[in-house]
């Protein structure tokens, strides 16, 4: 029961989206006033904006504005959040950098590692970078549910640096294979994956890397906001024109006026 409440509360952002969406649609259908309809439409669109923003949010991530100077590679790969395999590839480059750093430019290795302990050599560093997040992930998963945690953990372990969404995917896939008939179990695995991702983010900040929220949904939604504003403007302009032409913006009155016009035409046509 408690799990269930937690499950609901943890997704508060999705509940906001659903509530707004249904409210907006209901207003569009139920209200007769054209201006109210436009406002309902606007509410409906706003819910989609929130849906997109919620999708780009990474727990512990900062706004997608580039701030780090020295952490070029790491910063870039995190900025590209959900680019899946792409981000993994780039992560690989990042690790190479870590390898090279102590040999080529010892001075910069300190910069790269920020909060970690003093570097002892290339291999040791490498081990740390690989092990630290993975261990944390495993701990987090075990904390929630050892049985399923191990399942999802396999996927997570394989992708120590990937972003939350990618991990959710992997977890969803592996969980889906294990429990194909139980939807809730899949959700449960997702939930753990989310926790694991949080823990991973913690691990990242410990390494002194900057975590960005995914900027792409923000950009998409900026475009959608422009479209939404334009739609509202056209809708309201039409309402003004309707008011000028009919003297009312109540849908039922408009309909009866249109019906009179229409059936007038029809009666004439039958006369021929």
């Amino acid at each position: 029961m408690e799990n269930w409440i937690e499950f609901v509360l943890e997704r508060y952002n999705y509940w906001i989206v659903i509530t707004l969406m249904m409210t907006g649609l209901y207003i569009v259908y139920a209200r007769g006033n054209l201006v109210k309809k436009v406002v309902g439409l606007n509410l409906f669109q706003t819910s989609v904006f929130i849906f997109y923003i919620t999708m780009g949010k990474i727990a512990g991530g900062t706004a997608p504005i580039y701030i780090g100077g020295e952490l070029d590679h790491a910063g870039e790969s995190h900025g590209n959040g959900q680019a899946g395999e792409k981000s993994l590839e780039r992560e690989g480059h990042g690790e190479e950098n870590l390898h090279d750093a102590p040999e080529g430019a010892p001075a910069s290795s300190g910069d790269l590692h920020g909060g970690t302990d003093a570097p002892q050599g290339g291999d040791a560093l490498h081990a740390k970078v690989e092990n630290l997040p993975a261990n944390d992930l495993k701990d987090a998963l075990k904390g929630v549910d050892p049985g399923q945690g191990a399942e999802a953990g396999e996927g997570l372990h394989a992708l120590p640096h990937a972003e939350a969404a990618k991990i959710s995917n992997e977890a969803l896939k592996s969980a889906g294979k294990t429990f194909p008939e139980k939807g809730f179990e899949v959700e449960g695995a997702l939930h753990q994956a989310g926790d694991a991702a949080n823990a991973m983010d913690g691990a990242h900040s410990a390494l002194g890397e900057v975590i960005y929220s995914n900027p792409l949904p923000h950009v998409l939604i900026l475009t959608a906001i422009v479209v939404g504003v334009a739609t509202t403007a056209v809708g309201l302009a039409l309402a003004v024109r309707i008011r000028e032409a009919y003297g009312t913006i109540e849908e039922d009155e408009l309909e009866s006026m249109d019906n009179v016009a229409e059936f007038g035409d029809a009666a004439e046509a039958r006369a021929i």
Binding site: F44, F51, A83, A165, K173, V227, T231, V234, Y246, D265
Partner: protein, 501 residues
């Protein structure tokens, strides 16, 4: 930086940049001249693109040189090159046609705005067709829709009901577009990409609730835009009260582009091992297509307004396209694409002919058509020839469509739908026949509201209209042109979608 390398972006850039310039041109004639020239240049670019794609294969253009999947990609294959060719071709003819009609139906002060909005609408439609990026589809869809709402509302000078029609269209269209964005958002959550080709790869093997919900949202959203049968309520009023030139343009292009988007998502984004898609074909598209064929066509028979009659007939014809699509075979997809092309030719010609009548008679009530054969014989015969094409009489494009559809129906094991296609064609015979009877056999009223002097429409309108009528017959005889391209396009689409379901 040669022009040829930039060819794929030209159909979008040219009308988009040209649109605001119409507002700066002096009023009576220049905005129209400018818009028509632009439309013809765009058509030339699209024709060139089709020829290039037909000979060298798919073109992938990276907008701003940003490589996909992060950058926006324009991906032109045969299927969308055909639709681009069609949309820009109809646009070029409608623009050339529209001068007198617009002068009679739209406020003089609004004429430059009218042509600007038409060009933006054209940009949007071409953009939806050419782009290979799922979110970009939404943006272009809204560019074309927003300008369409304004264009429909411009019919208010003749009939104020254009305003309520435009408002209802806006509400339904926006709900459709928003559903589409929700669907894209869910797919993005599941895959982390927006590029269609990339989406296709990453969706392979994914069959979870997120993808299923995304698929459902996309189908319903696009269904609203293309006036799939129970979601068609915005269409009859919008087409009836819009200025006639706009009706001709929209009837021939807007819904066709939406059908193309549906095809693109079914075959190039989702794939056939996604179980939902088979269910959508069998339980959604097939029954709704058949229902549309019958119910909307029957509704057309009882209309007393010719534009509304044609609008209901459009909803019925969309049923054929969905039916062909739902067979999920190469033949069915070919039939669907061929009918998209052919229906644009017939409906374009028919709505243009109605525009000619509206210019002379000032009404599109069926009463205005009484005895039209004696007053405007050239227009009357254009209506009759394209009406025959709508029914599917041999030697017209309508026959070619029906032939491909019947072939697809019988070869895919949906033989019963073959009989339904023929039966619903008989309903088309009813409404076209009713129109023909009124035009040829009735005496023209000598007095009253619908009396008008016997005078043909101006040549500037007759020529584009007859070009379309002749295209109806030409492509009905040279079936290898559209059929060949559509078949190659369908084969390519089926290949990406993963063969038979």
């Amino acid at each position: 930086m040669s022009l040829i390398a930039q060819l794929p972006v030209l159909p979008i850039i040219i009308p988009l940049v040209a649109a605001p310039l119409t507002l700066l041109l002096p009023k009576p004639r220049l905005p129209w001249v400018w818009a028509s020239v632009v439309a013809w240049v765009t058509f030339a670019a699209c024709a060139w693109l089709l020829a290039t794609v037909a000979s060298t294969g798919m073109i992938s253009y990276h907008l701003g040189d940003w490589a996909p999947p992060l950058g926006i990609e324009y991906r032109v294959d045969l299927a969308n090159a055909l639709v681009l060719f069609l949309v820009s071709g109809v646009a070029a003819l409608v623009f050339a046609f529209s001068y007198h009609s617009v002068r009679a139906e739209v406020d003089a002060a609004q004429t430059p705005l009218f042509y600007g909005a038409m060009l933006i609408c054209l940009t949007g439609l071409l953009g939806v067709t050419i782009t290979g990026d799922a979110f970009n589809v939404f943006v272009f869809l809204e560019i074309s829709s927003l300008s369409t709402y304004a264009l429909v509302a411009m019919g208010a000078r003749r009939d104020r009901r254009a305003l309520t029609a435009a408002f209802n269209y806006l509400v339904m269209g926006t709900i459709g577009a928003t559903f589409f964005v929700i669907g894209i958002g869910l797919l993005y959550q599941a895959t982390g990409t927006l590029n269609m080709a990339d989406l296709h790869e990453r969706l392979i093997g994914q069959d979870n609730r997120m993808v299923q919900a995304g698929f459902a949202f996309i189908v319903v959203g696009i269904g609203l835009k293309l006036a799939m049968f129970p979601l068609h309520l915005w269409l009859p009023n919008a087409y009836t009260y819009a200025p006639s030139a706009v009706s001709a343009f929209l009837a021939a292009t807007a819904t066709k582009v939406a059908v193309y988007v549906l095809i693109r998502f079914f075959f190039s984004v989702f794939n056939f091992d996604f179980a939902f898609i088979g269910a959508a074909f069998t339980y959604v598209l097939l029954p709704l297509g058949i229902a549309g064929m019958f119910i909307a066509s029957l509704a057309a028979v009882f209309q007393d307004d010719v534009k509304r009659l044609l609008a209901y007939s459009s909803v019925g014809q969309i049923g054929y396209m969905l039916l062909g699509l739902s067979f999920a075979t190469v033949e069915g997809l070919t039939a669907s694409l061929v009918h998209v092309f052919n229906h644009a030719l017939m409906k374009g010609a028919l709505f243009m002919a109605v525009a000619c009548v509206v210019l002379r008679a000032g009404s599109h009530s069926i009463n205005a058509f009484a005895g039209l054969g004696k007053r405007m014989p050239v227009t009357t015969w254009a209506i009759i020839l394209s009406g025959l094409s709508l029914i599917g009489v041999p030697l017209t494009v309508g026959f070619v469509s029906k032939w491909y559809l019947l072939d697809a129906a019988f070869s895919s094991g949906h033989g019963y739908s073959g009989f339904l296609i023929v039966a619903s064609s008989l309903i088309a015979l009813l409404y076209v026949g009713r129109l023909a009877e009124v035009m040829l056999l009735r005496e023209p009223p000598s007095e009253g509201k619908y009396a008008f002097p016997a005078k043909e429409a101006p040549l500037a309108m007759l020529i584009p209209m007859w070009v379309l009528v002749i295209a109806n017959i030409y492509f009905g005889i040279r079936t290898d042109l559209t059929g060949g391209i559509a078949q190659r396009a369908a084969e390519a689409l089926m290949l990406t979608a993963g063969g038979a379901p």
